[in-house]
Symmetry: D2
Subunit: 348 residues, 4 copies
């Protein structure tokens, strides 16, 4: 019963098989391998973007930081959610890779609202040389709290950005889960909704450590290559990144895996709801923030269930009925059995 | 007949097997996996350094840049060979990760001499606040031109550094090949010779992409962890780095592989010498810089041999006897057959 | 009737005289001038800090950015007011000079409360390597909205910082006005209240462009000197900075000038209050944020009065009674006559 | 007898008078003062560049670092003399302001030769993403050793840069002395010779601390303004920079002062030559590198003459006839009497 993180699950067997298959003889280093060409074409097809610049890096922080750096200048500020991963969980990596820029937190909670975004951007108007200059809007999809922006919501946010001439970045660490949730195309969730650059995650969805960065403006390509190399994120034996991503994209493995995770998460959410849990956020994809009684937590903990207690909730305490919040994540490999067992324990 | 780079060879089967074995169920993310504990202990044993701080990253540039950044301040300068990888081949990554430091090229060619190093350091004396401040000495072992510093040479360089209170970094992208060549212990080639921090390479010697960074002063550990995270080089699914490195260290695979590469390289060098080739540098490990006639190059090229023509040598030309320089690298997987075939073609 | 900024007023005649006096023959460059020795000793006396490190720079942004950089690491975050100058008005200079750090805005408005500061700091606890690490607390005294922290308030804030081992920086662009308002000693307002480093402003109070940076821990001295030089803020003809600061400190010119500004501001505030103005913030020193009717604004504007309309207030409009906010700053040179004339126009 | 540095001399009386004159009432802050408009127009006239972007900063290091940063990217390298001020004397400020770029030292000594420059640039060709990318060429005029590039030499260097599409920066800390030496126009020494951006020094030639930065491409203006502010080099009371530069440019004070310095230097050089001194470099402007006997050094030192012993020469020693090198700088204020007295002491 492992619901602590989708960073803890195993790699999909098809990905391991692809690594083994790729491990034959010599291959060109530094991204000139043949598999990368397959990846590039496949992503362009999936995104209906025949000119897109496509690159691989090994961590989500690298994808986000390098993508943002390529979209902005050091004297600008990124507009993002106050709980964005780039703000809370990357130890100032975006500030480092952008050369000392700032992040402006759009007031609100998890999801940004177009109105709050507009106000945050407007606040930096007419500041001349004194204030930070306005830079990209970064949207996290799936959000940090497990919600998914609808296409209409994405378009509303990117419209606000585009009115001011600001580029839009999508942090898609859980891109596949979001697309599966929306049942839309990759193009609809990105450039057709006003997105300029995407961190297209694979690690949380069955890869060892590969994320693609996609720019719909191919003019960004060379700068990104230089930034990636200078950031020490260009792999010499690049074929092993390519092989993972190629396997991920073949036969829609990425979507199949995400759909499985989402479906299991929905099953878990339904069971929690039936058991009387409260939901802190809308569980739209593969992540749930729910509160249930301390007594249930104790049963789960004693049975070895793994998940994060949220927002300072403490399991130790007197009142067995007190509601305590938890974060539950379903990765691609979670089984229905584990969920059933978890729900049985919740029900007591 | 692939002699172009040890970045192009395959991964050792034992490493692939270890990845498969590690791919079971859930594991703690971000370096808290059990395999990392094995790696840490094994490296401490190998280096006879029970307190050493040990970390994994995925590229050699990350290892070098993060290690140097941890050893210095942005207003300092690194003393290194004019052909050091950190100077010539990392697109300013060391300058980026150190926050804008400088590299001072010690006059000479591939290997630094203690005398030239001493003079370069002395030149920055008495500069007060105006000049760059003196920072680490970075030594590349195996050098960029395939030579190996003897232990006496290493000690002479580090003595120069230590007299001035400067730390010593060892760029060991080909650490195993150097150690195999010297037939010494890891401790002798590092801290017993005055080295403070090591980039301990694995990628060029049979891994997919893993390098260890080792500090003999454990006081550097936390800063390095923060720098690694901020540099976007902390892997969430870290177990797959650990698994590679663990397999590399088990049963001396790292040394066995390096010895194979060195032995094949020696065989190649002997054949070249017998065929009348000139050597630009002493071929001490798994890399040869040699010149042989244009006619031989043509035969090799026509037969599909892969290697880099060096220093602007041009194969096209009239004189079949003109000597043209080449870089030939033997990776762990090169076979004796390939070498024999190559030598037969050289001989014509 | 110039109330737009204390950056717009003239230099005090005694300062100009001191520049003329200093302009005699040759002097040691780069801070080794004799006048700097006078400045250093005088500041140590004033602050009752015989070991303090004392440096001069020419802009407030340099003073703040270099002081903060010396107190922190790039992976840390500064805790400050959401309207702090370092956040709103320095075009990411603190982020630049600190090498890519972050600023955490303590929720609230102008003045930070100890409770909100404590909560902001606590939020970054137990984040391991993922979140920004906790760095200095920066307090602005006089605040950006013209208020002055009492000594008890300063001590309460610094206690919160010190409990966590965090250093405290005081942005004293209007240090003299604050000290005059509190009628305390410089030591009381700084190290006796838990402050580690001070930006001691002179520019807004009668100098051309000189600010002192003071560290009570002399161990910061050499790093600051290197940071200042690397930041291009070390003046070759440094004696002209020294001469200004020396004149400022002689015969308490700094306090006399600040007291004059504060007294004129108090007179202006009293007149505004009598005329029915609303106050947005407590006008404790030489800056007022007040709202008065549009009709009064029009009379003032037509008579040539200069000041900033605040927070988007628009003078153009129909209702002559609508209250519109303004920022009014009294510099050291403002005359009682100007204030009387201004108040007469307010009254209509 | 002060020949140690042109950073140690006084400010010209006309400059002090201009500061006094500017010190009247209120003026717009941050560069919007009326005097800056005069400066801008005057520089455009002098340089015959009606569209040039013109800014003021207070130190030469700021002028150079900000100008270079505006001309390049962090992954590029600056080509410069191995003794360039930006390399030897700015404590890594260019690396800092450019965000971590590199400086490539063109082999040779003080003056760069077009051939060596071409070779240094060619060396970075075909490096793909691995090497530093090629960035600006920075030329120091007057050189660090007191020589002046002829217009033909400047054009030859800039041609090499322009063939590769690289911008050209002129470090003109002693611009006036160079122009006086060449007896040419400012336009001839800059854009007509292929220069894109100029650090136009004033500090060493009679100002307190003001340098202009000039871009002939006005498209660089806004970025430079942001970089200047972010670098903490935008003065609030900017009128006092403007007043100095305005006085410097009025009635050719800048050229008159430089001609005086050069003429006195020529007189000094002639006397040294007559006395049998050796010259290490051609003394083309206001700086001499000459060697004369230890006995003469002792007489000068005992009489209180101030200058730098060069290249490790030691006055203490046995042989009174040994030649010892010195750097002698004539600033605008040096008197003929001092020179005569110096020469009398040399002659013994």
């Amino acid at each position: 019963m492992y619901f602590a993180s989708d960073n803890s699950g195993p790699v999909h067997p098809q990905v391991l098989a692809a690594l083994t298959e790729a491990n034959d003889g010599y291959a060109m280093a530094y991204g000139a391998d043949a598999l990368m060409e397959e990846v590039r074409q496949r992503i362009r097809d999936i995104f209906e973007a025949p000119d897109a610049a496509v690159y691989l890096v090994a961590t989500g922080t690298a994808a986000n930081s390098l993508a943002l750096a390529t979209l902005m200048q050091p004297w600008q500020t990124v507009f993002c959610s106050p709980v964005a991963h780039i703000h809370e969980d990357e130890c100032n990596a975006p500030e480092f890779f952008t050369g000392g820029s700032k992040l402006t937190l759009v007031p609100g909670s998890d999801k940004m609202s177009p109105k709050a975004l507009q106000a945050a951007i407007a606040k930096e108007e007419n500041r001349g040389v004194h204030g930070p200059q306005r830079g990209p809007v970064s949207i996290t999809q799936v959000t940090e709290r497990g919600s998914v922006y609808s296409l209409a919501e994405l378009r509303a946010l990117s419209s606000v950005a585009r009115e001011r001439g600001l580029p839009v970045h999508l942090d898609g660490a859980r891109f596949a889960n979001a697309q599966a949730a929306l049942n839309c195309s990759a193009a609809e969730m990105t450039w057709k909704s006003g997105v300029d650059a995407v961190s297209f995650g694979g690690t949380k969805n069955g890869l060892m450590g590969v994320e693609a960065v996609i720019f719909f403006d191919p003019g960004k390509a060379w700068e990104f290559e230089l930034r990636r190399k200078r950031g020490a994120h260009l792999f010499s034996k690049h074929r092993y990144l390519s092989a993972q991503m190629a396997a991920y994209l073949r036969d829609d493995l990425w979507l199949t895996s995400a759909r499985a995770a989402n479906a299991n998460c929905a099953r878990l959410a339904a069971g929690l709801r039936a058991a009387g849990a409260d939901f802190l956020h809308s569980p739209d994809a593969n992540m749930i923030f729910a509160a249930f009684p301390r007594a249930a937590h104790r049963r789960l903990r004693d049975a070895g269930a793994m998940y994060h207690i949220w927002d300072g909730g403490v399991i130790e305490g007197d009142d067995p009925d007190e509601m305590i919040a938890a974060r539950l994540v379903c990765d691609w490999s979670i089984s229905g059995d584990q969920i059933d067992r978890f729900l049985a324990l919740i029900r007591g």
